[in-house]
């Protein structure tokens, strides 16, 4: 176990009753990372990525094992202590239409972490505006006055990142923040997350299907399958030398190669056709 790690996940398991959610369980996970590190969690749907993310924020409690963040065992904290610990956490979700309160103005939404943390009111407007500016929504005062439904999906996801800027979290879980957006907007969100880490020093757990996005952003990529960690390496190592078949299949599926220029990549994919199907049951 790394000394001084920000997050330590030690032997954590979490299962759901079969009728409730048959998949997305996690099974005996060990993982740790430091402050300011960006860790990708990659794998097919139902591999347990989201559950692991929620465990790290104390939104779920493990059946076995411990999740220690900043020296605090989350499951051992009382509800008040957990609330205070969470003021240094943040969560970015896939669907910005759902993760932003439709009845509040953008300015109020972004200011919420400050309201929770008890930041003096005097500075809030300036911080809201500078964070809006930071994510490229300008003029900020105009955006702050609007309601979520007046913005596009891509703009809303930037609002969600602006809220993270204001929260200045130590740890943020970003659960597929790009998968509902147009592919052309992915790059923008990825750049913003990298900037957030550089500006604030936030450690980010970036959950995604897309290995290429994970590579662009992450220092390390953890590949999960059926609730277990099957690889944990820097992305370039992982892509160049897949440690096992599961990772090799993932790499083959994510390889963006123009048609005909490399006929073999289609053949490489054949292996994973049925594999992919089996993991996509909902």
């Amino acid at each position: 176990m790394t000394e001084g790690a920000l997050v330590q996940v030690v032997g954590v398991s979490k299962h759901y009753p079969a009728a409730d959610r048959p998949v997305d369980a996690v099974d005996d996970i060990n993982l740790s990372f430091g402050a300011g590190e960006i860790v990708g969690l990659v794998g097919p749907s139902g591999a347990g990525k989201s559950t692991l993310g929620r465990l790290m924020l104390g939104l779920e409690s493990p059946d076995a094992g411990r999740v220690v963040v900043d020296g605090l065992d989350l499951a051992a904290l009382g509800s008040r202590a957990l609330r205070i610990a969470r003021q240094r956490f943040h969560l970015l979700l896939q669907d910005p239409f759902s993760s932003l309160h439709p009845g509040l103005r953008i300015g109020t939404i972004i200011a919420e972490p400050m309201a929770i943390q008890g930041t003096p009111r005097a500075g809030r407007v300036r911080q809201v505006e500078s964070s809006l500016q930071r994510v490229g929504l300008s003029p900020p005062a105009d955006y702050a006055r609007r309601f979520p439904h007046e913005l596009s999906g891509g703009q809303l996801q930037r609002v969600a990142v602006a809220r993270a800027y204001v929260a200045r979290p130590r740890l943020m879980v970003a659960d597929e923040p790009t998968s509902m957006l147009d592919a052309s907007l992915r790059a923008g969100i990825i750049e913003l997350l990298a900037a957030l880490r550089d500006d604030v020093g936030t450690a980010i757990v970036f959950i995604t299907h897309d290995l290429a996005s994970a590579r662009a952003l992450c220092d390390r990529v953890v590949v999960m399958s059926a609730g277990r960690v099957v690889a944990d390496q820097p992305p370039d190592d992982l892509i160049a030398n897949p440690p096992n078949d599961l990772v090799a299949e993932l790499v083959a599926a994510s390889d963006f190669t123009p048609p005909d220029s490399d006929k073999t990549h289609m053949d490489n994919m054949t292996a994973m056709v049925h594999h992919g199907d089996n993991h996509n049951r909902r």
Binding site: P44, R83, E112, R126, V128, A187, A212, F256, P259
Partner: protein, 646 residues
């Protein structure tokens, strides 16, 4: 927080400056009318002794007098002043309605929030109590309880609250469960919000529309209960309320004389006015709580300021061999018509899909690509309207503006895999049966045999053919939808985002299936997606759509290697590569244009790194730069032709 940024104030209004109006004009108008009605009635009730000259209980005139200056609404059978009774009755009826509604709704809300949030035994117990209360016969309960509680006004309030809290509790609780699942509640928890903030700001606030509606409903019923109690003779005989006035009018035969006009009608009208006033105010409150209601729907760039002229010189630049084409589209124009004007969604598109080839159509959301797809099938719905457009679908000329000419082709020579194909199957039928149903549309022989063949072709194992859709994985369901689209041997398949929502691995298998079908059935495929890397795996040709137009069209491999349009270049740089040097991602600055307010000239110019002044004056047309490539950009065209010369 008044002086946030004085320096910037000249350019940018501070956050707290004059806020945008939250309510639509309709809601504001109704809100004001409702508030005025209620305000006047409450005022009249409060000032009753000052307004009416007579004591409502005193005999101030002869019985059954018609309205006069002295008795504005005449008198009743014992000579009491009816106007005075109306005003004094309002005090009882209104306070009863308001207090009962407040109690019943707050009890209901508390029960719902506690049950929804605590769960477990507490929830079971509370909801059991709700069901018990709801299952009691209403009238019997009222009669029995009123004999226990007596006839005072307090007793009536308690009675109505006991009878009425359960329905709102039930309604609120299901909504509490739903709202608790919303992302913003989870996010608030994750960032350490306390329970009061979560419950008040994030949960209860989103129930406000329901709370408003339930309050009006309960207030309404409370007034009616009081009137019914009086009617049944269970009210307080000495109490003057609208209900008791009506009761006495009825029992003392007001309807047999002319007296009903001033004895029954005024309290009836007053009652109606109160309910209408409440409903109007509730309308405004609902909209306040959910500003999305102010617009009707989410404005996905569907409303224009004015119609923009989609003047499209018929382009001669469509790439491909029309002789072997499954689909040729020329000059397709689709607009969304609304009261405020027309929004152009597809602005003069030409396309060719050759048989045995896949044309990948790529564009951002709002680029018009899905509108294009549905209008090719004649499946567009109002307010979308095909203004013009000619097509040749598998050799048959079709006028896209007339649905009737497309209908015979759909499901036969033209197959369609819709967006959200995951939900395109009926959950209550087995999948084989659904494919057979699609097969029976055509006159081809042996629907069952063909269905089996197709399910086999899309690699559904035989033992899954009789499964229900929910028993299949997402990838399998998608294959079934493709089987149904292909069962009548179409020559052209239109697939709109066929892999969205699927795993990377499953996406590959679906793409592989489509490319195999292209080869085996020499199918022409129009494959629509926002995901260029995905398209680039299988597409033979590519068309790039931006703001309702095709901006680049050509061989896929060629475009991916040497994109000419700056937008295509931007798109290609938006996707992080899996290998090679890790460069900073450039992406495309800015946001897709609002089709209601397209810029003059080239629609991409405001986001374009290569834009020049001339780009902002005239909209470029698609021009062939090589035999296999066309591009709608004056700068790119010049570059391409000069490099070809040089």
């Amino acid at each position: 927080m008044a002086t946030a940024a004085p320096a910037a104030a000249a350019v940018v209004e501070p956050l707290t400056a004059r806020r945008r109006r939250r309510l639509s004009p309709t809601a504001r108008l109704l809100g004001w009318i409702g508030a005025t009605i209620l305000g006047l009635i409450v005022l009249a009730a409060a000032l009753a002794p000052l307004i009416s000259a007579h004591d409502p209980r005193a005999r101030s005139g002869l019985p059954y007098q018609a309205p006069s200056r002295d008795h504005l609404l005449g008198t009743n059978d014992i000579g009491q002043d009816l106007f005075s009774q109306l005003l004094h009755g309002a005090r009882v009826s209104l306070s009863l309605a308001a207090i009962s509604a407040m109690i019943a709704v707050s009890v209901g809300l508390t029960v719902a929030v506690v049950a929804g949030y605590r769960g477990g035994r507490i929830e079971a117990a509370l909801m059991g109590l709700v069901d018990l209360t709801l299952s009691f016969p209403f009238l019997v309960l009222v009669v029995v309880m009123s004999s226990f509680l007596g006839r005072s006004i307090t007793a009536t309030v308690i009675l109505t609250s006991i009878v009425l809290w359960a329905r709102p509790a039930r309604v609120f609780r299901s909504q509490v469960l739903k709202v608790s699942e919303f992302g913003h509640v989870t996010v608030a928890r994750a960032m350490g919000a306390g329970l009061p903030r979560i419950l008040v700001t994030h949960v209860v606030r989103r129930l406000v529309p329901l709370i408003a509606a339930q309050t009006v409903r309960v207030a309404h019923i409370a007034v009616m209960i009081e009137a019914s109690l009086a009617f049944l003779g269970l009210g307080d005989a000495n109490r003057i309320s609208w209900g008791s006035t009506l009761y006495f009018a009825n029992t003392h035969s007001a309807v047999l004389t002319d007296a009903w006009k001033w004895w029954i009608v005024p309290p009836g009208v007053a009652l109606t006015l109160v309910i209408v006033g409440c409903a109007f105010v509730a309308y405004a409150v609902e909209e306040w709580a959910d500003p999305r209601l102010a617009r009707g729907t989410r404005p996905h760039r569907r409303r224009p300021s004015r119609a923009s002229k989609a003047a499209s010189a018929a382009s001669t630049a469509a790439v491909g061999d029309p002789g072997a084409a499954s689909l040729v589209v020329s000059d397709l124009v689709v607009t969304y018509r609304s009261r405020d004007g027309h929004v152009p969604a597809v602005r003069g598109v030409d396309l060719v899909v050759s048989s045995g080839r896949i044309l990948g159509l790529v564009g951002e959301s709002g680029s018009g690509k899905s509108t294009l797809a549905v209008s090719l099938l004649g499946l567009h719905r109002p307010p979308a309207r095909v203004e013009r457009g000619a097509a040749t679908i598998v050799g048959l000329p079709v006028n896209l503006a007339r649905r009737a000419t497309i209908e015979p082709l759909r499901g036969r020579s033209l197959g369609f895999v819709p967006q959200n194909a995951m939900t395109a199957l009926n959950p209550s039928y087995r999948v084989l049966r659904q494919v057979i149903e699609a097969a029976e549309v055509s006159e081809l022989a042996d629907p069952a045999g063909r269905s089996a063949e197709l399910l086999d072709l899309v690699q559904i194992p035989k033992n899954r053919w009789r499964a229900y859709p929910h028993e299949l994985s997402g990838g399998m369901r998608q294959r079934v939808v493709i089987a149904a689209a292909l069962v009548n041997r179409p020559r052209l398949l239109v697939a709109d985002e066929p892999t969205s929502g699927l795993d990377v691995g499953t996406q590959i298998s679906i793409l592989r299936l489509i490319s195999d079908l292209r080869d085996d059935l020499s199918l022409g495929v129009l494959l629509i997606s926002h995901d260029l890397p995905m398209l680039s795996r299988v597409a033979d040709d590519l068309a790039v759509m931006y703001a309702g137009r095709i901006v680049e069209h050509g061989l896929a491999a060629d475009i991916l290697e040497r994109p000419q349009h700056p937008y295509t270049r931007g798109l290609l740089h938006s996707f992080p590569p899996l290998r090679g040097p890790r460069e900073a991602l450039i992406g495309i600055p800015g946001d897709p244009p609002d089709l209601r307010m397209l810029p003059p000239g080239c629609a991409f110019a405001p986001r374009c790194p290569a834009a020049e002044d001339r780009c902002r004056s005239a909209e470029p047309h698609l021009v062939s730069t090589t035999p296999t490539r066309a591009v709608a950009c004056v700068v790119a065209t010049e570059l391409a032709t000069s490099s070809a010369v040089g």
